[in-house]
Symmetry: C2
Subunit: 718 residues, 2 copies
Amino acid sequence: MPVNHDAVDRDTVTEVLAGVRAEGRSALTAPEGKRIADAYGIATPGEALATSADEAVAHAGSFDGPVVLKIVSPDILHKTDAGGVIVGVESAEQVRAAYDRIVANAREYDAGARITGVQVQQMLPPGQEVIVGAVTDPTFGKVVAFGLGGVLVEVLKDVTFRLAPVTEDEAASMLDSIGAAEILRGVRGAPAVDRAALAEQIRRVSQLVTDFPEIAEVDLNPVIATPEGALAADIRVLLAESVPAPRRTHTREEILSSMTRLMQPRSVAVIGASSEAGKIGNSVMRNLIDGGFAGDIHPVNPKADEIEGRKAYASVLDVPGEVDVAVFAIPAKFVPAALEEVGARNIPNAVLIPSGFAETGEHELQDRIVAIAEERGIRLLGPNIYGYYSPWQDLCATFCTPYDVKGPVALTSQSGGIGMAILGFARTTKTGVSAIVGLGNKSDIDEDDLLTYFGEDPHTKCVAMHLEDLKDGRAFVEAARATVPKKPIVVLKAGRTSAGAKAAGSHTGALAGDDAVYDDILRQAGVIRAPGLNEMLEYARALPVLPTPQGENVVIITGAGGSGVLLSDACVDNGLSLMDIPADLDEAFMRYIPPFGAAGNPIDITGGEPPSTYEATIRLGLEDPRVHALILGYWHTIVTPPMVFAELTARVVAEARAKGIHKPVVASLAGDTEVEAASAHLFAHGVVAYPYTTEQPVAALGAKYRWARAAGLLPAKG
Amino acid sequence: MPVNHDAVDRDTVTEVLAGVRAEGRSALTAPEGKRIADAYGIATPGEALATSADEAVAHAGSFDGPVVLKIVSPDILHKTDAGGVIVGVESAEQVRAAYDRIVANAREYDAGARITGVQVQQMLPPGQEVIVGAVTDPTFGKVVAFGLGGVLVEVLKDVTFRLAPVTEDEAASMLDSIGAAEILRGVRGAPAVDRAALAEQIRRVSQLVTDFPEIAEVDLNPVIATPEGALAADIRVLLAESVPAPRRTHTREEILSSMTRLMQPRSVAVIGASSEAGKIGNSVMRNLIDGGFAGDIHPVNPKADEIEGRKAYASVLDVPGEVDVAVFAIPAKFVPAALEEVGARNIPNAVLIPSGFAETGEHELQDRIVAIAEERGIRLLGPNIYGYYSPWQDLCATFCTPYDVKGPVALTSQSGGIGMAILGFARTTKTGVSAIVGLGNKSDIDEDDLLTYFGEDPHTKCVAMHLEDLKDGRAFVEAARATVPKKPIVVLKAGRTSAGAKAAGSHTGALAGDDAVYDDILRQAGVIRAPGLNEMLEYARALPVLPTPQGENVVIITGAGGSGVLLSDACVDNGLSLMDIPADLDEAFMRYIPPFGAAGNPIDITGGEPPSTYEATIRLGLEDPRVHALILGYWHTIVTPPMVFAELTARVVAEARAKGIHKPVVASLAGDTEVEAASAHLFAHGVVAYPYTTEQPVAALGAKYRWARAAGLLPAKG
């Protein structure tokens, strides 16, 4: 059935919804649902009243497939008893005959009955049951859902979500995003369903809930999908109790302007600076000074003239010159007054280290500072944070220990504990960092603000964020979509399994466990989701080290057959494609390998080989343009000790890079403890290497690939 | 329908199968399948020929539900045209009428037709379609399969396997082992199916293939399961081309006897011992001597009188006294002759370090040594291995570097590379080891032999095995079942994703991807499967440290709310149950926590707390008998530095153990690099602790719980 893209009639929907509201209802009746479906071109079985056989023929002709005819009479309650229903009517001739028979039967049944006409209804064809729906997610707002229908799918929760509205392409992608996607393409000789018609049902539902935010939930359940079309057998619509007020937003320029002053300040005031060792106000001062911050550092403390060798001011109002950031190191109860002064002084950023706000139940106090900040145009970081680091500015605005290894990774955490883990991990792995930011209560500055900045920051090559919630899921997705084409974003979303029971008025609602929606929508935004804390940290460390792959052909070169098998497992787990090695390349590899070694992929060079075999095969893999990424499996032997392997690999990779060949190379080192130093050496030279694990290097490569695909740098996988 | 447990008629099956073979077929016809089903009491729709209305009534009365009646006449091909089929016949009266009508119709249709009678067939009721089947797995032999029926389940591969034959309980457990198990219990108000009848179908199929090994595959597809029973609508049986000869087996006593002499030898001969540094025969000698082996070490080398200060012998035949193990360090081609001498000398164990056998394509050479060993009664370890370690005997019979940290973990690897990773990991984590054994080509000694020994070895508290295949899956399962009640077994099964396409003649066969069968059957055997190399190593390290939990109540105590959320996620991921904390215990915890801290579970003691808060809450968790395991989330602060936390926790745990309280305690440490030393301190004092990860400590606890449940030490989880 051709789809009419213009068949949207908002006025009818407005009228229907107004009627429902007027009656104090939130659930629409079936006829109301049908009117809305018709208004938005959501295909439902056709039906129309005929008052003559000719009309009946015309109606039936406008529908696909057979029809059912039913008498319509206020005097005939039991239509079937009256011979008033005939099903499975196909040809025009049959329709005409059926019309006449029904009317005749009705007259015979009750000669006095008033006959309004005959309802001609399109019969639902047999087909694949699916569910299309929409719900209002607390984080992401209107989201549209798609899954196969029936009890089984409800049990297996095989359903996918997108932000509404969706484009045609996004809607089409949903058909492939469910576990049972194959069904829709036709299995065991069954024909494929009409994908375009199905996608169009999704698109129209997403449009409906976008145009009418007061619609809380929609269920088309089931939709019958056939090779010829997709018809919603039932439509259920629920209205929201209330529509939330839109969140305060900032333009991209506003965000970039204030975040730039936050992350690259020239002048910082420390409110509550102290000379007393052990006080937070002293730690912050010492870290700013010892960290080597080149800008101005102004201590503010009414009881001191000088702190840590700097002139102290009684109030921030007295601080001279333009100030970019005010760091708060005073008890919570004093924050509002000081914040007023920060506002009066036109300082754009307040970094609120103090705790004692929403996290301890002091919601009112937090609301107060948010109100002051909004009124005064101050952006708030925190409260309840350890502060933040901006290493390229030599800035440690925190009470924690300083960290000064400049590098490509920007990390944020909602929790202080995770922030400390970031610091320890970075220090022990010597991970170079462009920012570490505590977000704490997120009273104002949120991940989307920072993401907008990091996306533009030339020092930042990878962003990693620990978060427990998003205050504005759509703003985050928007910032992520703008950033992902430039650099990878790793997200550790905590609380992913705590969704628990969620009250829902529809099937779609019941399927939309918090994490299911998060997971689908973060993936759509191109974000790499880390399954745990350690993975977030390791991805953040590894991703900037790896060049972007130029294609999907991954080759494993291993000295240990056993590692080769485990590395292959890990490739499958991480969505990587082992290259089907062409015959000429296979032969080329075999020239370097003992005759009992295995070419193919993994390439098993066997255990006892000298450094030259590793070197020759790695070089071959790097230089053949058909190979896009290498996974190395090293086996500790006396013939090729760990550091010899590490050095030769680093050298071969460097030589290739000098020739303009930039391919991601990862390595798994199996051996005695010397493999630890060898792995560190490799990591420092651009090869992501780990000892005692086959999974971790491949997971890092997999994360890089996921990003490259999301960034549109690789053709979509078939 | 009551199930007749005795309705097994082997003779009929034998007769049917003989007939099929006689005709050179491997697939049974539908009537042949039906005969076999009847012979084994596999419920199919009832059918019987009636030659009178009375008989028809009697037949129909013996079946559940409505029947269909069909004319049986050699002269009537188109039964329906002849009015010879009536469906949905229910009461006796209806059956009688239908019988008479069919016969009358037939006579009317063709007065001369010979009428054999009327077939009375039970109608298949509407119900849940499931599939029950059996296949012959190359590793495990006959396995029985169960899954929901229909195309959707085939796409989603929601199916479970067990070794055949299954008991009633095992069969019943299969109904709960599929993802869509809920369906069978009835969802959305649908009634539950007759579980006993369904389990009985599974049990009978498993009995059939066990009794007749020549049956390669059975498909009951679909079986219609209803609240009243389970009927196989179709039965498909395929015969095997050939039945493999049973593998050579050893009794448990034989295995224990030879493995004890292997792992606790008093005298070792080194065939190919050498004085030349760098040679394998020298490394083995040096490692045996330097490792401090207290038994006899006899070098065998025709060209030397003395090696490393020991008298050398020209042949193993010359070595005096009883010898338990001959370690081979000679080229492959010399192995057969030397092995004959080992046999002549009645040495029970040959440790074959040399490569150059099956792994390099030299299958014939390997077959030769296996034949010699079988003839001579020698057990072979290898070939193609690094050797083995038995630290409690100070035995390093290997060319690798020595390892002497005695402890509770026995590790084996099929691959040398993985063996080296075991060594390096153990050394760097100071993991105490009872054995490290290379299995290599597994020409003879297999995981089941070692498992049988480790199960009895008092030093071994945990067994961890890397394997790529099992030569005899049933022997492994048997050894695992005997061991698991005593100690945990961790298995890293490599090659789990490489199943690839597998030719199969049945639906069950198509569903039985190698790994699906491995996974189900290893789980049934109570084995903890490690997803990757690092997990295998970490589980092996952690499991012996953790006491066995006495119940399912897990409590998280955390200083960082952020860690608490991630630890909760990890609990769900690892099948752990967060305790619903009783009000009095909640109050007790709250006495130690700031008012804005959160009781409940996780118990958030908040970030700024002194050591005394950690101490009091951990003690409370340990001492309350309703709590069974603790997960600690530490947050690095100045108030409670990492080592202070580690020491107080170790002390509190030790105090509890002194009082007889043994509960597993794991910890996640978030903080600066000092948390690394703190984690090591905790690990050394019986608390499984990791820095920078919330997932790993919980995964270790989860593994311990999985084992405790499999060992029957905890009530089964609801």
